[in-house]
Amino acid sequence: MALRGNLRDFTITQLLNLVNLAQKTGTLVVDGPSEQAYISFREGKLAYARVGQDDGSLAMVLHKANKLTANQYRAIVERTGKISDKELGLLLINAGYLSQEEILMNLQSYFTEIIRRLFTWVEGFFRFEGDMLPPEDRINVRLDLENIIIEGARQLREWEQLQDEIPSLEMALKFTDRPLKNVSLSVEEWRVVSYINPKNTMKQIAQTNKMNDLEIRRIVYGLLQAGLVEIVRPEGMVIPVSPKTFPTQNKEEQKSLVNRLIGRIRSL
């Protein structure tokens, strides 16, 4: 079943997080307020993007980045309209006009900029098409999404939404299995990261770093969205099990009671 929904309820950051964690391949189609965007992924990495009337071609990207003049751009479109971006890229490299790195860097900047634009879209519908791959005649990149997600999460300012995401600061954080490398964090984010340990509650981390509830929630939200940390119960935290939970305090009788419940539910 294709993923679909409304941006008002499910943000671009959350969608990127899902694509990243599920390592999805396909295209996210977003119908925004006045234009449509196509963002393609391969195995959870950003591969290609285009928005609105832009055709997302290499010539257009280089022209927008001032690497090609208007005349050069027009000439390329008119004379080489039929060749693929890969062929055009090779021509430019062989002519010594641009290096491969420059081409890839310009494409990455263009695609990332489209996503930045999407972060400002709060209205619109999305759908994820697993069988829609990036166009073959376009050059694909392989861009990790973590930094883009963290950047998007930084834009979340609404206190109410942050409170929904992280209702209790009495819980702790632990790192997920995802390596914390090549991630661009701010100084404040690093200060929080340095105290992440299942023994420290978020409240303690905030106090140590002299952050208020909003500041710590904002940072933790970004780390959560990027799939770098998860919320856990603090190690060593004593939460007394309510004496009302079981009618008996005897462990064996408690097990017997649960087994009786299992037997009864099975027989329903």
């Binding site: 079943m1 993923l3 679909r4 929904g5 409304n6 008002r8 309820d9 499910f10 959350q14 997080n17 899902l18 964690l21 599920a22 939404q161 929904d164 995401e165 992280i166 209702p167 209790s168 009495e170 819980m171 959560l224 998860e230 919320i231 119960r233 939460i239 099990v241 309510s242 004496p243 009302k244 939970t245 079981f246 009618p247 008996t248 462990k251 408690q254 097990k255 009671l257 649960v258 087994n259 009786r260 419940l261 299992i262 037997g263 009864r264 539910i265 099975r266 329903l268």
Partner: protein, 179 residues
Amino acid sequence: MQTVKMVVTGPFSAGKTEFIQSVSEIDVVSTERKISSAAERSVKESTTVAMDFGRITVDEDLVLYLFGTPGQKRFDFMWEILSEGMLGFIVMVDSTRPETFREARSILETFRAYAPTPYVVAANKQDREDAWDLEDMRHALRLDSKVKFLPCVATDKATVKSVLLELLYSILAEMESGG
């Protein structure tokens, strides 16, 4: 007579009342009211304002009570009261309404903070064509791979039983591990 309880929680219109109704031997004692907000009314006509209450008699000495929490946020003062003394809890999520996933996650985190009891998450309405896949939902809900995330149709007794059993197995496993 000994009694134990489990709590069924989740966002507004996730299917908590139906879930309890499917297995309760009594008509669910439900404190449902006509919905006042137009936005919420477009989803369903009435909602639980205090709690649902279902019962399963195990034998002559033991009764299991199922409590459903009110889904609307303005009644969340009831959650802590209902969670007191629970054996475990079930978080119901409507698989067809991604707009409720954030709230479901928030409810889950809130209940986890209340009590160290085992829990499972049930993806309701998995029989519907517009239901999200379980794996996508797991990621959207940020559920760890160790958390039991189960397909469910709240009106189908078999799937409801399976969710309850999985929760009981988790409770038993935790007791056996000394938790």
